[in-house]
Subunit: 285 residues, 4 copies
């Protein structure tokens, strides 16, 4: 199996490195070529466009930031679609809207190629440590072919039958995460205005029934003013926006989701590239 | 030390039992006398009013449902205040508004008695297992006197200096809990409308960075339609309401808190006495 | 000019009648033929499908309830598209999503026909009284051709250049209307819980700086429990949902819009077909 | 009748001037004496404290900014209470919380004096033009005594029996106003992001069923970036906060109120002293 990998952002480079370290040769494309300097081995070939990656690979992994970035890679001159043919498998790790994932599936299928959506749960550190959770939907055979590679990247894989179930589940997961994150941020903001010692507040929150490792990590980072991006603020907002649109389409009553998404939107101008826990700052400024 | 205990609700009876099991004799008052049938030993005396409990005890513990219930016990004919005198210690485990806790402190102090606010974190099961977390503020000496009893009820005690710091911290804790609970409920509601398998959704939520024991327990209960009250819905709403008022007084920007409180209010008519995880039902009905 | 008219709902039948009363012969299609009994004159021909209306008309007006209804009429077997040809003008009075309006424009243009989006402001009574406000965007020449008919239906016409500007403006208008409506409903609900005389409350609201005819009419209807549909609840929610999606796409911070839309969604199961002022009931139940 | 007037802010000075212009002599106190330069005639006496005003007057009008300002004037050394005696009438035009109004009533009654709450609807211009609406509750006899003065200040008076009904009604009025104001502001913000011509948007909003003079005035001011305070932003927020607390006490479901209050809170740091229509800016920054 010849393996392609497109997208060397925070997540993509960590995932590509885990494949490289396992001895898998990668055919790589990234918008900016410099990112190859961050790769763990030199067992890769860099191509000038997605079409060439597709032509030279049996499986092509994509890890891109949003619908637009995917569309640019897939459906432009020298894009992925031009290099597809019967039997190749496209695996999209990117979190995209459910409707776009369906759309991608249709485009790939038109080329007689196979498509899996495979959004991942987990940010920078789990990606580096091959501790992601992969949510996969699409052709079962293709899934079985790709699964050995998934195992090199993750601690767990969910197979969810039809597209866009994996997108749906990823969006629900991040809906819950975003609201939970804001719960912590609002609690800390109110605590600050009440002149409570925020370290004591965190200590308590980390001791009770809803203690969790995100509160522990993000709480510490907020208190030390450390907003290095593990999961960028703008991606958190993007995913909340996907959830808002799904809730609209399905007429689900999701008031907290709606208002957390609004709050995230409010801070986009100032915090988009730093970590999503900067919602703490967005509440305050 | 003679010990009084007033209030035998879900929490109070569990806590009183832990003291009784430890061999401590209790002077007890409860609005409805029948509740003594649930006590673990007969090493107690039941009194007909709070005044008598106060007169016969050095330390009086209160565990009541809200400001009004406390005021009725403390400040009515044959109420607690009438039985207080120099040196007695009143310990209020109830979660009340910060302003009422201050008010109680003033009233008790007027009788030359000592007052500790000591709201607890944890619901029915931790209360039964002496695994509560106690948040205590007020006179340091009184705290040191009472602390041995706290240890029989809890896994951890925070001492927070002045009143109403413990009330503040409890309210912040429950603010975060309430929003986090709604995060789960909204996620499950959207997932249901997306025809996802809710067991799979829970499995995922219990595997990621924000997995926590509340999600695990409440998620399972929601899916099995089990709303037996561990922490009653109306108490969750009451605490969210306290947080909303503090956020108003301190001008803290807490949009998710506000909207979660509204959502809880919406369901009061139908769900007040069952578990707070019935917010899942409130979103749907 | 031969004129077609498709859609005889609350709005469509009122508008068609104003054209009929002005002596204009109409080629009519409606899903349910019975609705022709409500027409003001018999100067019309009923056709069995939209294609036939298109073939027999130079201008075809559409007044349908949503994107799906439009798509059914336009783009199905014996649908409108099949009857279009060079020079015919399609005018869509329906309020649809901005993206669908763009999509309709593309489809009609593919047939070398012309397309105007022309959502209307005003509900049942203004429609009956030819007092609508028409918001029109699209080909200027087509607009000039159709404008004489617009004048028979409206007190005012805004021409807004390119599609989907008219859809945008209509959605913004209804965004403001929906929030304003909920402002009234929440005020009355709180007033009721405060035991104020709701007639006095309305009297005051109708006397101050923000007094408006919607408050006057809807307030009176709410107090008399009259929810006959002038502007159906489900259409109000649909338009709020359009606004939410636009706000998401443009990253506009619209917290009140989001939460009003959620509130409207909450009531869909019970109030969808009655008047949008039933939001007062939705807040309470 | 000797008349006192305490508080010469935006509203108070306009109201005092209408009494002065009518030939009524006023006994005046204001925190800053300079404000007397803005008075319309010199038919007044300035006193150094509220006690002296009370001692020298039969009726004392108060127009102050909030609960705290009232408490300072009424209940401090040389405060109003010290100068009250049997039969004097205190009329509070200030908008205060319902609970504080009740509290003021009790304090005044303890001095055997009479108390009316009389919050006004209308801002700077109606105050200047004696076009306010006065909402009055309290002792009926006192109301009849004071009513001739009310008529010199207002276009309309509502008498509402018992305290705090007038406070309640004023708070409901401003709840509806605040949400309606935000409806406009959010509509204009979304319209701007959609590149619509905001003058056209306003033109439309001023033509439809919910057209109102507040939209007309505030819309024009927003578009011309004119935020001179007619009704200060911080007072709008204060009143929304009062409504939020009432809704909490009465368990009224008011999601739009809650979220509009949050939005107003968010802007307090930047916009508190300018006009409440600066909520448009608060949404954007």
């Amino acid at each position: 199996m010849k393996v392609g990998f497109i997208g060397l952002g925070i997540m993509g480079s960590a995932m590509a490195n885990n494949l490289l370290k396992d001895g898998i040769k990668l055919n790589i494309y990234n918008r900016s070529k410099q990112k190859i300097n961050e790769l763990a081995t030199d067992n890769f070939e860099f191509f000038d466009n997605p079409k060439l990656v597709a032509q030279n690979s049996d499986i092509i992994f994509l890890m891109l930031s949003n619908d637009e970035a995917c569309e640019n890679v897939v459906n432009s001159k020298n894009g992925l679609l031009e290099g597809l043919e019967n039997g190749k498998i496209v695996v999209n790790f990117s979190t995209v809207s459910a409707s776009y994932s369906q759309n991608l599936y249709d485009k790939v299928k038109n080329k007689n190629a196979l498509f899996l959506e495979a959004p991942v749960v987990g940010s920078k550190i789990p990606a580096q440590n091959a501790q992601l959770i992969i949510l996969c939907a699409g052709d079962k055979k293709a899934y079985e072919t790709v699964n050995p590679y998934f195992k090199k990247l993750s601690k767990r894989v969910f197979y969810l039958d039809n597209i866009p179930n994996a997108s749906y589940l990823k969006i629900v997961n991040n809906q819950v995460m975003g609201i939970t994150m804001q719960a912590l941020a609002e609690g800390l903001q109110l605590a600050k205005k009440l002149n409570l010692d925020l370290n004591v507040v965190l200590d308590l929150l980390n001791s009770g029934a809803f203690a969790n490792s995100m509160f522990e990590l993000k709480g510490k980072n907020i208190l030390s003013n450390n907003y290095e991006a593990h999961f960028p603020y703008e991606h958190m907002q993007k995913d909340l926006g996907f959830a808002v649109k799904l809730a609209e389409d399905k007429k689900a009553f999701c008031p907290a989701l709606s208002i957390v998404n609004e709050t995230y939107k409010k801070g986009l101008a100032n915090y988009s590239k730093i970590d999503m826990c900067a919602i703490y700052e967005a509440l305050n400024s």
